[in-house]
């Protein structure tokens, strides 16, 4: 008797799920251009996700404010569907599946950070739906596969890794040329910290006296700091995300270690880093790919708009997400159609300067953003390299 209950109930529930899930293969007339994105709105990367969300939504709002995009002779508005992937690559993949099969999007925008972006791009590429993304360093993007439908606008890791050395050279900074490298073992930490920094240190005539790696979620940097201090490093290069970056700096001060140069990639970029550390953040260097002072159309206005709309301090991440969305929408306009292959072709022909700089994709589907070196000074970031763009002088003191 129980078993028949089980069967009946299962059938009923499955039926419910199918009906509720919408099992029809047909779809009603599209009166809007459907695009979608899976981004981290909860979980450890929720901070990034909020910037990316704003950037995508702002670009779509701008397009709709102009009445939409001309497709097949009619002006259609753009509908952006955003899903939360909870900072989980498995969820990115299933969200992307859902956007493609249920919402029937014509094109996609990417998530943020390599493991999430790549998970979604793989699905999109396989389904032959165009995907444009920022927030994925180019080598990490290229190393997955030879892309056909996925496109990335971001910085190139070697540019980021060589920047500190170029900065020191440009200012003629006097140090003992001893470098300590400490990086997390996320994909970009391994590339920048594990491979590129040692190589560039050698190239520019520096000696790596200490090198260590730690898990992305680490809280203890004690023994690493001790080692770096013992080996007398005056230049410390760190690659870690913000929570770890804050903990690292605190522990560095507590261990009485005061290098002349401290670079913290990724983690030192957001304003929360400086707010959490106060004066101790002064002098810390981080690479950036965008600043509101850049000479590109709409840069300063984007910052003002963001700060007015959200009441929060801006981050460079609003720019690459805004630009990625614009690139996609422009491609749809150029293609004049919702056909995936046509949109894809139009993306490949992109050649325009956006708020983030000139965008043109190479054979690997990547568009490279130039890096500048920023240094925290008095709670603000100043550009210290390239010198012709500099808004401040290089300080050789931390805290």
């Amino acid at each position: 008797m129980r078993k028949s209950h089980a069967i009946v109930a299962s059938v009923f529930l499955l039926a419910l799920a199918l009906v509720a899930g919408g099992w029809t293969s047909a779809r009603s007339e599209t009166k809007e251009i459907e695009i979608g994105a899976s981004i981290p709105l909860s979980g450890p990367l929720a901070g990034f996700g909020s910037f990316v969300k704003w950037g995508y939504q702002a670009a779509v709002k701008d397009a709709n404010a102009k009445g939409g995009i001309m497709v097949g002779g009619t002006k259609m508005k753009v509908k952006l569907t955003l899903l939360d992937d909870k900072t989980d690559p498995n969820t990115v993949a299933s969200n992307t599946d859902r956007l493609i099969t249920k919402d029937k999007v014509s094109a996609l925008l990417g998530s943020c950070t390599p493991s999430l972006v790549n998970a979604g791009a793989v699905v999109a590429d396989r389904a032959r739906i165009p995907l444009v993304t920022g927030c994925d360093p180019l080598e990490a993007f290229k190393s997955v596969k030879k892309w056909e439908y996925a496109w990335d606008i971001f910085f190139w890791e070697p540019d980021l890794a060589s920047a500190p050395f170029k900065t020191l050279k440009a200012w003629g900074a006097a140090t003992n040329k001893k470098v300590a490298i400490m990086h997390d073992n996320g994909p970009d930490g391994m590339v920048v910290g594990g491979k590129l920094w040692p190589a560039f240190a050698k190239q520019y005539g520096y000696t790596v006296v200490y090198k260590a790696s730690f898990p992305v979620q680490a809280t203890q940097f004690g023994s690493m700091i001790q080692n770096a201090k013992a080996k007398g490093a005056e230049i410390v290069l760190v690659d870690a995300v913000t929570p770890q970056a804050v903990a690292f700096v605190k522990q560095m001060f507590a261990a009485n270690f005061h290098p002349k140069v401290l670079v913290i990639e990724k983690g030192a970029e957001p304003v929360q880093f400086a707010q959490a550390l106060g004066k101790q953040a002064d002098g810390i260097i981080v690479g950036g790919y965008w600043d509101a002072s850049f000479p590109f159309p709409g840069a300063a206005q984007l910052r003002t708009r963001y700060e007015k709309e959200t009441g929060q301090t801006y981050s460079q991440h609003i720019a690459d997400s805004y630009a990625a969305a614009q690139v996609l929408l422009d491609a749809i306009a150029k293609a004049g159609s919702l056909d995936a292959a046509k949109i894809n072709d139009a993306i490949s022909k992109t050649n325009k300067t956006y708020v983030v700089g000139p965008v043109k994709f190479d054979a690997n589907h990547t568009s490279r953003l130039p890096i500048v070196e920023l240094q925290w000074q008095g709670g603000e970031t100043k550009i210290v390299w390239p010198r012709k763009q500099a808004t401040g002088k290089l300080l050789l003191k931390i805290g």
């Binding site: 730690f214 004690g222 507590a254 261990a255 009485n256 880093f273 959490a276 106060g278």
Partner: protein, 292 residues
């Protein structure tokens, strides 16, 4: 693997011991709640983070120093924990061990989300001059905040021990932990004891949170990491033993730090977990666990 110098090893030992104090403080609340209520409080991590956020609010809006702010935060968290237990968990007593476990799990999910909504996902930290200073102990530089946490660990453990041994309420708590049925028969309001203990556990968690905020940083999702550490400490020390929790916390701190000195910080957590599993394999009840 690298053999550390004598100085590096000594630094690791001392730092590890003091850091262990921080582990202990974050685990005390969990230990108390499990020892008395037999409840695995899965929302413990979020209570820690809540303490940190409350301190952050006091610091940014009223410029109140985090440690001073504890005078406010401890009672507030106690008053949050008490009704939480009474309303959500008391009705579940007797419905099996999974029920309250999963309720606290549900709470932790809700709490993390509320944090994101209320404070955004950004990293925060508590800023105080003593938090980033260095302390010199016999020629070894250790983070001052670790020493402060160690102090808190000793004081809190001793204070709780005295409270349980010497006060009437403490006696009731111990009786309820020992045998709730017998205690009830002897006139103890076990239900009230449980609520009080939970409130106390929440307050302890908040103290841990403030120390974490001072020493490191926190985000809405920092909770689960400290929950796991807390568990490891409580289980390692033996369920129901406060001194066990203290010793296990210190031990874990030392093992992790010394391990990191040899194998690098990358494997620090792994070494801690491996040591935990090995010790459990040898002593399945933990160091001082009492027989169930």
């Amino acid at each position: 693997m690298a053999i550390p110098t004598g100085h590096a090893l000594a630094t690791a030992l001392v730092t590890g011991l003091l850091l262990g104090g921080l582990f202990t403080v974050t685990a005390l609340g969990l230990s108390l709640i499990f020892g008395v209520l037999r409840l695995i409080n899965l929302v413990h991590g979020e209570l820690i983070v809540l303490g940190a956020y409350l301190s952050y609010i006091l610091l940014t809006h009223a410029s109140i120093d985090p440690l001073l702010g504890l005078l406010v935060i401890v009672p507030v968290m106690f008053l949050i924990g008490l009704p939480l237990q009474r309303i959500l968990l008391t009705p579940l007593m007797g419905k099996g061990a999974e029920a309250p476990l999963l309720t606290t799990f549900g709470l932790s999910i809700i709490a993390q989300n509320l944090f994101i909504l209320g404070f955004s996902g950004d990293t925060q930290a508590l800023h105080a001059s003593y938090a980033n200073a260095s302390l010199s102990v016999a020629g070894i530089d250790v983070p001052q905040i670790y020493a402060i946490s160690f102090g808190f660990a000793l004081v809190l453990t001793a204070a709780t021990h005295l409270f349980l041994k010497r006060t009437a309420v403490g006696c009731e708590i111990r009786a309820s932990a020992e045998d709730a049925g017998a205690a009830e028969m002897l006139g103890v309001n076990v239900s009230r004891v449980y609520s009080l203990t939970y409130g106390l556990g929440a307050a302890f968690a908040a103290i841990g949170g403030v120390l974490v905020g001072l020493a490191f940083s926190f985000t809405p999702t920092t909770g689960p990491g400290y929950l796991l550490t807390g568990f490891a400490v409580v289980v390692l020390g033996g369920l129901g033993s406060l001194w066990g929790t203290l010793l296990a916390g210190l031990l874990l701190g030392v093992v992790e730090s010394v391990g990191a000195a040899f194998w690098g910080d990358g494997y620090r957590d792994f070494i801690g977990l491996a040591a935990f599993l090995i010790i459990l394999a040898i002593r399945p009840r933990g160091l001082f666990g009492r027989a169930e």
